[in-house]
């Protein structure tokens, strides 16, 4: 890698040993991809993936402390993934004990570290930092040092920013030196599609199921998706963006997709069309049967696979304001149809603190509350991430949550039926 004089000086330790180690990390990281240079970060804000003060992650907090002690911080402020706990979310005595006394005992300490390192504000905890209510939305062409797989794939694909699937810690290290290695999704060549995905379903495919199928097939490659605009339109409105948010999160967690192009919809696909497709791209056809095959192949690891669900999570990644309104109307209608007033199991909808504040100001907030649904800012994945939850039958329409926990996946329509007491 060819470094500028300034970068080489940092690597040589002229600004201290800790900053030299940060630069060495970025150079070695870039060398693994034959990156020829480091390029400047141009986004206003950064986004970090590590939001949780898990006792077991002490090595991470020790490293952050090394950065703070050496006064090696970034001028760039950042948002961060959701907080892991919220007293509004149902938990029994034992769960509360495990959360507060064993698992997240470092939460307060780590949040103090985040504030010192440059957290945007006390509400900047969400995986959907790019939403208007959160305020970390990069411009097309911006170079980022973000982590959080669902945010990276959204920023690349829907916003047209440029970011590799950086790991936690690498995210803040890039921001500290102000540069990231130039490889992969930062380059024009790396943004070319090596898969053509043809959608041939007879109805609008479920976003999280379609994303899962594509992620598992293409792994870390870039897919160019044809035929989806027929179902979600060719305008990046609230509805299409919410669909792509959920779709992308599934591609990134069930596979390792960092960028997708949707024909006639996402910015680069609109601008460059099929010239984005690399020579020799492979083809994947998705029809109703393929989606059914993928869904039926998900393992169910509940102790009793026939157990009645005890808890439902919707909102991984966090819901948008429009999604919260849409769910409110659907739940009200389904409850009315089923002759009920309240949801039949503990149901938690998660969204960014800023989105929840905006939702509180709408007429929908009281209506959703009246159905018994609880809203929260937490990360459902972090909530589920313990053996007690593994014993509890939890359902979700998030394919990301299914991947990392024992939660069982159902489509949005099936979730609606389940929580409103309807029958399949």
């Amino acid at each position: 890698m060819i470094l500028t004089k300034e970068q080489q000086a940092i690597l040589d330790g002229e600004q201290g040993e800790t900053l030299a180690k940060v630069m060495k990390t970025l150079v070695m990281y870039g060398d693994a991809f034959e990156a020829e240079k480091l390029v400047p970060i141009t986004s206003k804000y950064n986004h970090l993936v590590t939001s949780f003060g898990l006792k077991v992650m002490s090595p991470v907090y020790d490293l952050m402390q090394q950065l703070l002690d050496a006064d090696v911080c970034s001028d760039q402020k950042f948002s961060v993934d959701p907080r892991p706990i919220d007293k509004n979310v149902p938990a029994n005595f034992l769960q509360n004990l495990v959360f507060n006394k064993f698992m997240y005992t470092k939460q307060g300490f780590y949040e103090e570290q985040l504030e010192k390192l440059g957290l945007m504000d006390k509400n900047a905890f969400s995986c959907t930092c790019y939403m208007d209510e959160v305020g970390n939305k990069p411009q097309k062409g911006d170079v980022l040092s973000w982590a959080e797989s669902s945010a990276v794939v959204y920023a690349n694909s829907v916003l047209g920013a440029r970011c590799n699937r950086n790991s936690g810690i690498i995210d803040i290290m890039g921001s500290i030196v102000g540069y990231v290695p130039y490889f992969g999704l930062l380059t024009d060549e790396g943004r070319k599609a090596t898969w053509i995905v043809k959608i041939q379903t007879t109805k609008k495919p479920e976003a999280q199921l379609l994303g899962s199928a594509i992620g598992m097939k293409v792994m870390e490659d870039v897919p160019f998706v044809m035929g989806l605009d027929k179902w979600i339109g060719n305008e990046l409105n609230d509805s299409a963006c919410a669909y792509l948010k959920d779709f992308g999160a599934a591609t990134a967690s069930n596979g390792a997709v960092g960028l997708y192009h949707i024909a006639n919809l996402t910015p680069e696909a609109v601008e460059l069309g099929e010239t984005l497709i690399a020579e020799g791209a492979k083809e994947y056809i998705i029809d109703d049967a393929e989606l059914e095959r993928v869904k039926n192949n998900y393992p169910v690891i509940w102790k009793n696979p026939k157990a009645e669900p005890k808890l439902c999570f919707v909102g991984c990644p966090h819901l948008s304001l429009e999604q919260l309104k849409d769910w409110t109307e659907k739940i009200e209608a389904a409850l009315k149809k089923n002759g009920r007033k309240k949801v039949t199991l503990n149901t938690v909808f998660t969204a960014a603190p800023g989105v929840l504040e905006a939702f509180e100001k709408t007429k929908y907030s009281k209506r959703l509350k009246a159905t018994g649904v609880i809203t929260s800012y937490i990360c459902p994945l972090m909530y589920m991430n313990n053996p007690l939850c593994k014993k509890m039958p939890v359902i979700t329409s998030s394919n990301k949550l299914r991947t990392y926990t024992s939660a069982r996946y159902y489509t949005d329509a099936e979730i609606l039926t389940k929580i409103t007491g309807g029958k399949f």
Partner: protein, 147 residues
């Protein structure tokens, strides 16, 4: 015995028993429960990975195509190395992905006394040949012996 030649991502020499997955290795899903709740054998917790689920990863030669999933992957690997709960080595059939590379580099630069050789680009033939329980020897130049 068969030899394969790969590219050295982080250096080292080691001999260990192979565990093999031909699917993408989800680092967070595989390590999270084991690290959090002190599983001494560091058993793979990824329910979606039928080849590795429930198998011990500690001190093994982890043979895989690439890692997938959450961008916490690199820091999870870094934590595993810091806590000495890491595989003996990681052997990638494909070019290494950004998350695994981050984990390997973070461990190499920031963890004292750790040696976890990481070799990539070993090819599909490597992954087709190697089976669970085989003896793996990693040489400093990226040569991997399988027997």
């Amino acid at each position: 015995m068969k030899q394969f030649k790969g590219r050295v991502v982080t250096p080292g020499e080691v001999t260990a028993e192979a565990i093999v997955t031909k699917e993408g290795f989800n680092t967070l899903a595989s390590f999270q429960m084991a690290l959090q709740f002190g599983d001494k054998e560091v058993k793979c917790g990824d329910q979606s990975n039928k080849e590795l689920y429930g198998k011990s990863m500690l001190g093994k030669a982890l043979c895989l195509p690439q890692t997938i999933g959450s961008t916490t992957g690199g820091l999870v690997l870094y934590c595993a190395c810091s806590m000495q709960k890491n595989p003996a080595c990681m052997l990638f059939a494909n070019h290494i992905d950004s998350l695994a590379a981050a984990g390997a580099v973070l461990a190499d630069v920031w963890v004292d006394g750790i040696t976890m050789p990481v070799i990539d680009s070993l090819g599909d033939e490597f992954l087709n040949y190697v089976k669970d329980g085989m003896k793996i020897t990693v040489k400093a130049d990226g040569t991997v012996e399988v027997e």
